[in-house]
Symmetry: C2
């Protein structure tokens, strides 16, 4: 005999399919939905469907947007001569939070990783090259992650763009602000020494 409540199990399963959400957490989240007024569940459902159906990649930067060209690419006030190349759309949010960067972005949607069968053709490199062809862009900032694959992708792209007379730069390595030297790994510390600045 099975005492399961089918719609509840279905909801638990849906939560459990989210990354980092285990069975127990999924259960807790599902029960919390049942404890809320029905409007809340409906709002949540609408938000899911709307986000998935309305958001797609910007034709220009390949970031996420609900418009044809995203608000950043479409903004005349931004510096379109500097392109910050990132791995994933969420990285744009991280840079925007700094409120320091006034250029535009390009999302690769991954990094070169031969072991996973991902080469430049699998990434949005073609789209980046198309953007660079009209001569507007003067600099690309390689803001891929500080991993082996991120490094390889950065150096691959910089070799591609340099012959076009475009400056390629890389984010600085060093100790994180507010961090503790005691916990800094030797590679980071070595890079921080190497890149030291006069004060």
């Amino acid at each position: 005999m099975n005492y399961d409540i089918v719609p509840l199990n279905e909801l638990i399963n849906q939560f459990a399919r989210l990354p980092g959400i285990g069975k127990k957490t999924a259960q807790r989240l599902a029960y919390s939905i049942l404890e809320q007024p029905p409007e809340r569940a409906h709002q949540f459902a609408d938000a899911l469907v709307n986000a998935r159906d309305q958001i797609h990649f910007c034709k220009c930067c390949q970031g996420l947007t609900d418009l044809e060209i995203c608000r950043i690419c479409d903004d005349e006030a931004r510096d379109h001569t500097v392109v910050c190349v990132v791995e994933e759309p969420r990285d744009i949010t991280a840079f925007e939070r700094t409120r320091e960067f006034r250029g535009v972005y390009h999302v690769l949607h991954g990094v070169i990783s031969p072991l996973d069968g991902i080469g430049p053709e699998q990434l949005r490199v073609k789209e980046l090259m198309a953007r660079l062809s009209d001569g507007t862009v003067k600099e690309i900032i390689m803001a891929t992650n500080p991993t082996v694959e991120g490094e390889a992708t950065a150096s691959y792209l910089s070799r591609l763009v340099k012959p076009m007379g475009i400056k390629a730069t890389r984010l600085a390595y060093g100790i994180p602000v507010g961090g503790d030297l005691e916990y800094a790994d030797e590679f980071t510390l070595a890079r921080a020494l190497e890149g030291r600045n006069e004060i």
Copy 2:
């Protein structure tokens, strides 16, 4: 100027309203929805709406069900003379997982907590009394949580039912199976000593 993607922010906010989900996790979950095929988001949305609209409280035990009387209360094969009284619907799931209990349940939907203004009238005590009135029930097992409020509720209810000739029992206290004595607190250990059994 605001570069926010409205439907994405709305989805992040919805995730962030779930218990134990912070802003960062909400962001990660929302992006994961965008990375999945649209059907997934639609299935998730359906599951939310179905669960919230179809699930309500069982007329008998006050647990969750999508039927009028839940599958447990409706099961003739179960022992309807023993009622396990729990705080929340999710506690039923915990007991059902043991596969040991063959009786039925009653959900109080909370515990007596004078500081929070919760007395017996705010709980499903009236419904419990109505169930006990026909003389079928011989024993109620107080399975409220081992907290001050849970204890108070258990002793309040046992005082109510004893004059009706119904046996009131309480879950045993002791060391958890698979636990380590070193980490057992003194109160638990004292109770485990007190309730020791001959082997």
